[in-house]
Symmetry: C2
Subunit: 233 residues, 2 copies
DNA sequence: CCAAAAGTGTTAAGGGTACACCCATGC
DNA sequence: GCATGGGTGTACCCTTAACACTTTTGG
C-alpha cells in the first residue's frame, strides 16, 4: 500500500447526509412525505426530506432535526434503514447518505414546507412523481423493510391515532403488506397477542354498526419483552 | 436557520470508515476475525478489521478491499449491517463507520495479518478480549442480525464447505441461534425446503456411521425466488 | 465387541386458513 | 327498511414439538 491517491481521505472526504422516508396512513393507502426542491440540482423535482449531517450531531439526530426543519415533525418513531454510497448519487459531488424511515400519524400532524423547499406533501406509494437523486430506490427499500418489520413487531400503532378500530388497523396492515387479509383471522390473531386494550368507546356518526375503539397496551408490550410476536400474512 | 456554525459541513466533515464483522464456523462455535492494532489509539488492542473509505469507492467496496488487505479474504458474502455515528466513537476525531458483516468458510481461508496490524486471529464469540472503539457493540448487533437472517434465508451455507453433512449444518444453526435443536425435526425441515442436494459421497475415517454429504442447490434457490423459506427455532 | 455418532417415524397439540351470516347504525 | 360495514365461530389441515431405538464404522 503506497501513499498518495489512496491516502486522499486525509484531505478529501465524502459529504455526509441523512434522508428520511416518512410513512403515514390516511385510512386507505400508505403515503410518504416528499418535498419539492427549490434549488439545483433537480430544482423543482420531488425528493425525500433530508440534508447534511453536522459535526456535532449523530446521523439520527440529523435525521430528526431535518424532520422538524423540513416537515415540521417532532417526536416520531424513527429507525435507521441503510446507508447509500454510490459514487454518482449526487451530480455535484460525492455524498454518502444514511437513510432513515419514520412512522407518523398522517392525520395528527400538519406537514409544513421548510427551508429550501417549495412545497411539502404526502404522496401515495402507488402514485409517486419522478424523484431526485436515488430517492425512489430508498423508498422502495424502506417499504420492503416496513413489510418485514410489521410482521414481527407491533409498529403499526405508530401510524394510527392513539385510539383506533380493528378495521382501521386491518386496513393499515393490508396497505403495508399489499395483500388482503381475512377479517376474522386478523382479529383473532391480533387480539391474541394481548397487546390491544378495548376501550369503552365506540365510533360515532357512522351509517353502520359502530366499531369498538382499542388502544395499544405499551405496558404489556414491555412486559412481554418484545418476544413472541409473529404476524404472518 | 442561520449561516455560521450550522453550515460548517461545507468545510468540516466527519471521516468515513468501514468495519466488518467476519463470521466463521469451526464446527463448534461461531467465531469472528479480530486484528490487533499496531498504532494508537488503542495500540495493541483487538479490533474489527476496518479502515477509511476512499473517495473513489463505495462503502461496500471499501469493506471488501479492507477484508483483503487486513485479513486476506476475497469473494466472500458481505452485507451492510448498520452505520455508527456516535460523536465519541474515536478519541482522535469524529469518525462515522458503516459496518458490514461477512460470512466465510473459516477452514478454507487462511487468515493473514495485514497492514497496520500485529496479528489477525479468529476469536470465539463466547470468549472475546476487550475491544477497541465501539467494536463490541458492533459485533453484538451483527450476531443478532445473523440470528434473524438465518431463520428466513439460507445463508448458513456460506459458512460451510461446498459439501457438508447435516450434523455439521445443524451444529452451525445451533451455534448461531444459541439453542439446541432436535435432530429429527431439523432434518425434516431443512430437507423439506428442497434446497439440499444429496451427493453420493460419505464421510470417511470416522469411528461411527459415516454421514451423507450434501450441497446447497443454488439453482433451486433461484427458482424458488427467495420465497417460502422460514426456519423457526 | 464396544464406543460414538448417524439416521429414522409417529403421535399429539396448536396454529393457520377458509368460510357465511347476523347486528347495529344513519338516512 | 335498506344500505353499509362491524362483529362473530367452526372445521380441517398442516406444521410443530416431543420422543427412543437401530445402524454403521473404526479401533
Amino acid at each position: 500500500m503506497k501513499k498518495g491517491k489512496k491516502y486522499s481521505y486525509l484531505y478529501e472526504r465524502p459529504a455526509l447526509a441523512a434522508d428520511t422516508v416518512i410513512f403515514g396512513f390516511d385510512g386507505e393507502t400508505l403515503k410518504v412525505v416528499l418535498t419539492q426542491r427549490k434549488k439545483d440540482p433537480f430544482k423543482s423535482r420531488w425528493a425525500l426530506p433530508g440534508g447534511f449531517v453536522f459535526m456535532d450531531e449523530t446521523t439520527e439526530q440529523a435525521a430528526k432535526r431535518l424532520l422538524l426543519e423540513k416537515a415540521g415533525l417532532k417526536n416520531v418513531f424513527i429507525e435507521q434503514l441503510y446507508t447509500f454510497s454510490d459514487m454518482d448519487r449526487d451530480p455535484r459531488e460525492r455524498i454518502v447518505s444514511v437513510a432513515y424511515y419514520a412512522l407518523v400519524n398522517a392525520r395528527q400532524y400538519e406537514i409544513s414546507a421548510g427551508r429550501d423547499t417549495l412545497k411539502t406533501e404526502w404522496f401515495s406509494l402507488q402514485d409517486m412523481p419522478k424523484l431526485a437523486f436515488d430517492h425512489s430506490k430508498i423508498i422502495k427499500l424502506a417499504a420492503e423493510r416496513l413489510k418485514g418489520k410489521v410482521s414481527y413487531q407491533p409498529v403499526g400503532f405508530e401510524l394510527l391515532n392513539e385510539k383506533f378500530t380493528l378495521p382501521q388497523l386491518q386496513a393499515l396492515y393490508e396497505a403495508i403488506l399489499e395483500t388482503p387479509i381475512d377479517k376474522r383471522n386478523f382479529r383473532k390473531k391480533i387480539l391474541s397477542t394481548g397487546l390491544l386494550l378495548a376501550l369503552d368507546e365506540k365510533e360515532k356518526n357512522v351509517a353502520h354498526k359502530a366499531a369498538q375503539y382499542y388502544s395499544f397496551d405499551k405496558k404489556m408490550y414491555k412486559e412481554l419483552g418484545k418476544k413472541g410476536f409473529h404476524f404472518e400474512l
